[in-house]
């Protein structure tokens, strides 16, 4: 598996050299079963210029502190937040730092079953030999417990409640029973280093339906959209430029166009214009990730349709598809924003955005 062939290698492969450097210089005590000390794990996520470790997560460093300390205790870590706030990226980075392995991942969904979480069987062998460790096919949770590693559970709230609750005894008693086996194999005790990072988004179904028993076994950390305009703009610019390059677009995105785009996203997301006017928030998520994808689309349109970097008019065209999706109400909110807010802003790109408002579909 060479890197060129893989679309997106896991974090521990992408940042293997950084992890290596951190491991070499890491002198602080490590919690049992951890690949790095807490301090080094923190540096891996928030960055360390001296060691040449990139900053990979833009947000409050205290969030990382709390997350790491939680993982070193007996409670699981639950990352909640709006979609597109880099929860999954964060869980991947933390798992890579703590266990050196971020691939023990369960993807939650309506069809997730206990088999996919705990273990299943190789049925041919099961019929031939009966239940044995050979015919047992371990799923991420069993592997994480047996190997002492962090298990990631993505979108946990999208699973049925009874499936979610299968985490209860592994989290509290740190043991997983395999009743089909007999003898010492029937109980898999968690080795040091095992813990669970779950993610849940607040839009889908929220965490309200989670059982209180399971909630109690997690510490909650809410991941927020990026608070600072300049930081978000930089991030969108960097990510969009990288995406555009991969799409074969030969000009970088224009900063002033991105400024208008990011401002629009931030104001709609917070429901508050820069002058303090309160507005309706769209029901779609105006996340940074969405902003990046709009910026990408704007650049692609500009380059392949007209051979330039993309303009404010392209933003309007792309917004209809991403920000408003199929909701007529959101389209109305967007239109109102373009009509009244964009009109009052200074600068040619805002003028262009206002002038292009008729490109929104409908009406």
């Amino acid at each position: 598996m060479t890197e060129q062939m893989v679309q997106r290698p896991p974090a521990e492969v992408r940042f293997a050299d950084e992890l290596e450097r951190l491991r070499e210089t890491d002198t602080a005590p490590r919690p049992p079963g951890w690949a790095l000390s807490l301090a080094a794990a923190r540096r891996f996520v928030v960055g360390d210029d001296e060691l040449g470790v990139r900053r990979k997560f833009v947000g409050d460093p205290s969030l990382i502190d709390r997350a790491l300390v939680t993982l070193a205790t007996s409670r699981g870590l639950m990352l909640v937040g709006e979609p597109g706030t880099a929860k999954s990226l964060l869980s991947e980075l933390v798992a890579a730092a703590v266990s050196g392995d971020s691939t023990l991942t369960i993807q939650g969904g309506a069809a997730t079953t206990e088999d996919q979480i705990k273990y299943s069987w190789n049925y041919a062998m099961l019929v031939a030999e009966g239940p044995s460790t050979r015919s047992l096919v371990p799923a991420p949770l069993l592997r994480g417990m047996a190997e002492g590693k962090v298990v990631r559970f993505e979108e946990i709230t999208r699973c049925p409640l009874e499936v979610q609750d299968s985490l209860l005894s592994p989290l509290s008693d740190r043991v997983l029973a395999v009743p089909e086996l007999i003898g010492p194999d029937a109980m898999v005790f968690a080795r040091e280093g095992f813990n669970v990072i779950a993610t849940a988004n607040t839009r889908d179904r929220g965490v309200n339906e989670m059982s209180a028993a399971l909630k109690r076994r997690f510490n909650f950390e809410t991941v927020f959209p990026i608070a600072d305009f300049a930081t978000e703009l930089d991030l969108v610019e960097a990510e969009a430029a990288a995406l555009l390059e991969r799409s074969g677009v030969q000009v970088p995105p224009r900063r002033d166009v991105l400024e208008v785009l990011v401002t629009t996203f931030r104001e709609l997301r917070s429901g508050k214009a820069s002058d303090g006017q309160a507005m309706d928030r769209p029901s779609t998520v105006m996340s940074t990730a969405e902003a990046v994808s709009v910026a990408h689309a704007v650049g692609v349109r500009g380059w392949f349709l007209r051979g330039e970097a993309g303009s404010a008019a392209d933003i309007v065209e792309c917004l209809a598809g991403t920000a408003a999706k199929d909701s007529a109400d959101d389209l109305t909110r967007l239109r109102r924003y373009l009509e009244q807010q964009a009109a009052r802003r200074p600068g040619p790109q805002w003028k262009a955005l206002h002038a292009a408002r008729h490109l929104l579909p409908g009406r």
């Binding site: 928030v46 969030l63 990382i64 502190d65 709390r66 300390v69 510490n219």
Partner: protein, 780 residues
């Protein structure tokens, strides 16, 4: 954390003479400890403290035995502008420790900074506020370097929680770095030059004995530099006196932890005063233990479940965080982070307040709010007996005597006379200051109220004096104090626009309608966040009246009210475009709001620079919006018409001719463009809107007419009787009939009775028809 603190190469190591400069952060217990230790070790001849120099000779007042926190309240009035500022002191203020320990060590203690009235303090309300914005960039870089969230966490990390060994050097390095990269403004330069003069004089006076200087750390490097230079002046500097014509003074007032706290107070210093009080009293471990207990108690009082397991988890997390961050004992954010991670089992709606900076906003998680409150505490200062009283007490007594209002009983004031207005203003000012014993029984209730007389009941009581002393914190005179209170109420009103309107009207009654420029910003923000069209209309109408006409209260043309008008118009237009909904009966409040907007655009567009074109565009869009409620569409159509864009009225009314919506649409139209409708009646325009309407109503089937009737009646209520008569005349003419139009407007019997009769008749004929007792074809 083991990252070294960066050191500036050219940091001045030696200071001339025998001066110990202690650069502090205001309200920092660690700095206070350093001050105490330094004074105890050096036994200095002089202790110089950053504080108002004009209060130096009254330091004894501070030592009367008050309950802390107290503040030196300074107010100053120049050219009709009031400025007030506070210099708050609490038990762990380095300045307070310098004063008390300096005195105890037998040193001469002086304040050496410019007085509060000086222009260098023009924008400061709190002398000891953190001026972080001056060096935000450096702080941000250091925060990145140490991986902490903000300047407060950085400060805890570097100073409060670290060992006291080497604290002086650490502080010096920190502030050298901060100052080295930041330009001091003109204000700071003036203050530093003045403070340096005091230090030079003290050094000269002290001979070989040491001098201790306690100032904000930001000033320390500059002061060291200035002292090394030769000073031209000899001897103690003069305390500058205020410019001619300016008045002012300083008094001690009780202060509170709530006002000290950056999470709740305005322009304040370090957050969480209760935490730092306990840190000062008993160290970080004890502070963390005590506050954990307080938080848990508070949460349990609020019926939140906090189990023993949660407490163990919180403790473990706090310890773990402290260790990860390299703290010898849990710091403030370790404690808060540990508590929140263990106790809050939900997603949060907004970031944790201690990861950012500034006041706590609404919508925070209740448990988080309790934590912040517990660390904020609710200690309130108390002045010792015999502390000099503020001048407001004397001013109010004198004003009451001068205007003959110092007795009990009823008074009637004629507002149109100068004396009456002056007396009324005195009473209103006392009323807004909440001084008991002044009740208004009657008087004008809104801006347009044609009432010229006020009745008051005066009832002197024992509560009056304490209330006045408290109100004295707001200002030296009744007018200042009332203006300050109104400022405060305006700021607190936020986006509750009806409250805003009440405050603005009070301001007019008190003769304080020229509130400070700062308030304009607050007011704009409040209006911009308002969400109720009716309320906004109410404000707009009130204020427009006061701005245009009110010569009685003297508010005509007031710039403050102009701001309100501008903000409201903008917001009404924004909100109007967002209203969605099917047919519903006309919302009169909403229509009044649009009517007020029309008046503002008509009468104030020129002087205030309101954007007529933008308003017209909104009106056209709303009028054409099929998903907007009919009354609003009618009103928008009327708004456009009254602004000069008639459109095709006849076509518009035909478009809205369904019986369920016709009346409501007309109500909107008539509310906004009644004059225009009547004006077209006499002209050659054909067909006029009323003619079309006549035709439509005549064409309605019986049941449809009954459906449309109530709303139609309501719509025509907008016409006064004389215009209704003109409409009736047109109706007769159109049918070629003669007769008195007035008779048409009056029914001889109760309409309900007529309706009953018609219904009965209808029922009877239906019955007859059913029984075959009537011919099939009824005569026309």
């Amino acid at each position: 954390m083991t990252a070294p603190v960066p050191v500036l190469e050219d940091a001045p190591e030696n200071v001339p003479g025998n001066v110990a400069f202690i650069g502090v952060r205001h309200h920092s217990p660690a700095c206070a400890r350093l001050v105490r230790r330094t004074i105890a070790e050096l036994r200095p001849a002089h202790v110089l403290v950053e504080g108002p120099a004009d209060f130096s000779h009254r330091l004894d007042e501070l030592l009367l035995g008050h309950g802390l926190p107290v503040a030196i309240y300074s107010h100053h009035r120049e050219a009709d502008r009031l400025r007030s500022s506070w210099s708050p002191l609490c038990a762990y203020s380095p300045e307070w420790v310098a004063i008390t320990e300096g005195r105890a060590a037998g040193a001469q203690v002086r304040f050496i900074d410019l007085p509060a009235w000086h222009p260098a303090f023009a924008d400061r309300r709190n002398r000891y506020t953190d001026a972080e914005e001056r060096y935000a960039e450096v702080t941000a870089r250091l925060c990145r370097k140490f991986s902490v969230d903000n300047g407060d966490a950085l400060w805890d990390h570097l100073v409060e929680i670290e060992d006291d060994d080497g604290l002086a050097e650490r502080l010096a390095t920190y502030f050298d770095l901060v100052r080295g990269e930041t330009d001091a403004g003109e204000d700071d330069t003036a203050r530093e030059a003045y403070m340096a003069r005091w230090i030079r004089a003290a050094v000269a006076d002290a001979g070989n004995r040491p001098v201790v200087v306690v100032t904000g750390g930001f000033h320390r490097p500059a002061l060291q530099r200035l002292i090394a230079e030769e000073g031209a002046e000899e001897g103690w500097p003069e305390v500058p006196s205020p410019p001619d014509g300016a008045t002012g003074g300083s008094y001690l007032v009780p202060y509170s932890f709530k006002r000290l706290d950056a999470f709740t107070g305005y322009q304040s210093g370090m957050p969480s005063p209760e935490y730092y009080q306990r840190l000062w009293e008993s160290g970080p471990e004890a502070a963390a233990d005590a506050l954990t207990e307080i938080v848990v108690t508070r949460l349990r009082q609020r019926k939140q479940v906090v189990s023993t397991a949660d407490l163990i988890a919180a403790r473990t997390l706090t310890e773990g965080l402290a260790r990860l961050r390299g703290h010898r004992a849990p710091a403030r954010t370790d404690l808060l982070d540990g508590l929140v991670a263990a106790l809050v089992g939900d997603d949060l709606d907004q970031p944790l307040p201690w990861t950012g900076h500034g006041p706590l906003t609404g919508g925070a998680h209740p448990a988080v709010v309790e934590m912040v409150k517990a660390l904020s505490g609710h200690r309130v200062g108390r002045l010792a007996a015999g502390t000099p009283a503020p001048p407001l007490v004397h001013d109010a007594t004198a004003e009451l005597e001068r205007h003959g209002l110092d007795k009990a009983g009823q008074v009637t004031l004629k507002l149109a006379t100068e004396r009456g207005l002056a007396r009324s203003r005195v009473l209103h000012r006392l009323r807004v200051l909440r001084v008991p014993g002044f009740e208004r029984d009657s008087g004008p209730a809104t801006g347009g109220d044609p009432v010229m007389e006020e009745r008051w009941t005066l009832a002197p009581s024992d509560d009056r004096l304490p209330a006045l002393i408290e109100a004295g914190a707001y200002g030296a005179s009744l007018a200042d104090a009332a203006a300050a209170v109104l400022d405060e109420r305006l700021a607190a009103a936020g986006s509750r626009v009806r409250v805003l309107a009440a405050v603005l009207f009070d301001a007019a009654l008190c003769g304080c309608a020229d509130l400070s420029g700062q308030i304009v910003g607050t007011l704009r923000a409040g209006l911009a966040a308002a969400s109720d069209l009716g309320d906004l209309g109410h404000v707009l109408a009130t204020v427009l009246g006061l701005w245009r006409h009110d010569r009685l209260l003297g508010t005509a043309g007031s710039p403050l009210f102009a701001t309100v008008i501008e903000g409201s118009v903008q917001r009404v237009l924004w909100l109007a475009e967002g209203v969605r909904g099917g047919p519903a009966s006309a919302d009169l409040e909403r229509l009044h709001a649009l009517a007020a907007t029309r008046d503002a655009l008509r009468h104030a567009a020129g002087p205030l620079g309101l954007d007529r074109e933008a308003a017209l565009a909104v009106a056209r869009r709303v009028a054409a919006a099929t998903d907007a409620p009919p009354d609003l569409r009618g009103a928008a159509f009327g708004l456009a018409w009254s602004l000069g864009d008639a459109g095709d009225a006849a076509r518009a009314v035909r478009g809205m001719s369904a019986p369920g919506v016709l009346g409501d649409w007309l109500a909107g139209l008539f509310a906004l463009a009644r004059d225009e409708v009547i004006a077209t009646e006499g002209t050659s325009e054909d067909p006029t809107i009323l003619a079309v309407l006549d035709e439509l109503v005549a064409g309605l089937a019986e049941t449809d007419f009954l459906v449309a009737l109530p709303a139609l009646r309501q719509a025509f209520e907008f016409f006064p009787p004389r215009e209704r008569e003109a409409i009736a005349r047109g109706l007769l003419e159109r049918r070629g009939l003669r007769g008195s139009p007035r008779a048409l407007l009056r029914t001889t019997a109760d309409p309900a009775l007529l309706a009953d009769a018609a219904a009965l008749e209808h029922k009877a004929s239906a019955l007859l028809a059913a029984e075959g007792l009537l011919p099939e074809e009824r005569p026309a």
